[in-house]
Symmetry: C2
Subunit: 112 residues, 2 copies
DNA sequence: CACCTCACTGACTTTTTGGTAAGTACCTGA
DNA sequence: TCAGGTACTTACCAAAAAGTCAGTGAGGTG
């Protein structure tokens, strides 16, 4: 989903940041606090390691998530929301609520 | 962006509905009232006829937009938001606001 | 010394999405 | 009869996103 640039509205810009199959799920998982890579892999069911890391790196480069490495063996890496990420998640709440409210309708009208 | 089903959260469901390069732009354009096909083509700059109709059909099948044909020559077809579409647009407003508020940061950190 | 965990990384393939360009149908007015 | 305006439709191709799968490194455990 290559977004149009320069953005024509805020929605456009936001879509560019949260676009992709896994980013909303990841944001959702991080909503309740920092998570290790392995924890995210479990919580975001269905994601592969490659996609997870790819999306995390994108979110990191957009300053939505923060990555912290603990120099241990075995390694430990924690991902958390930045302030910007928190504000994004807050802005996403009504959308999540909308989706929850209309889930049955959405399911019913899903293509095939 | 094939969404995971069954949905794991409301955000997931919402993402399935508004996913695609042009849907947020179309929703945005319809926010201010009904629009004819040709009007949308002009307002949603850069969209091709094929993509526009494709996205409109998807939104229609999800009961987000309403399509009304006026039997005239030359033809006239008007697209408008349904109640569900209106409620979706309202839920999208905070996200639009977030995007507008942080547009410069988002632009600055955009990939390449 | 072999094996384990954890967090990656990279090559390659498949699937999905989007874009191009041409054509259709209809009636109107010149 | 022929161009024009409007809303599509189709076949084909390109690009982007996602998936598969095998492999890496570093230190701790048996």
């Amino acid at each position: 989903m290559a977004a149009v640039r320069p953005y024509t509205c805020g929605l456009d810009a936001a879509a560019d940041v949260i676009g992709g199959k896994w980013k909303p799920r990841i944001l959702w998982a991080l909503h309740h606090g920092p998570r290790r890579f392995g924890e995210l892999r479990k919580e975001v069911t269905g994601v592969t390691e490659k996609m997870l890391i790819q999306q995390l790196r994108e979110l990191e480069s957009r300053h939505i998530v923060h990555r912290e490495v603990f120099h241990q063996v075995p390694p430990k890496v924690e991902y958390s929301l930045t302030e910007l990420g928190e504000s994004l998640n807050i802005a996403l709440m009504p959308l999540d609520q909308w989706g929850a409210d209309h889930m049955t309708e959405i399911e019913a009208s899903r293509p095939c």
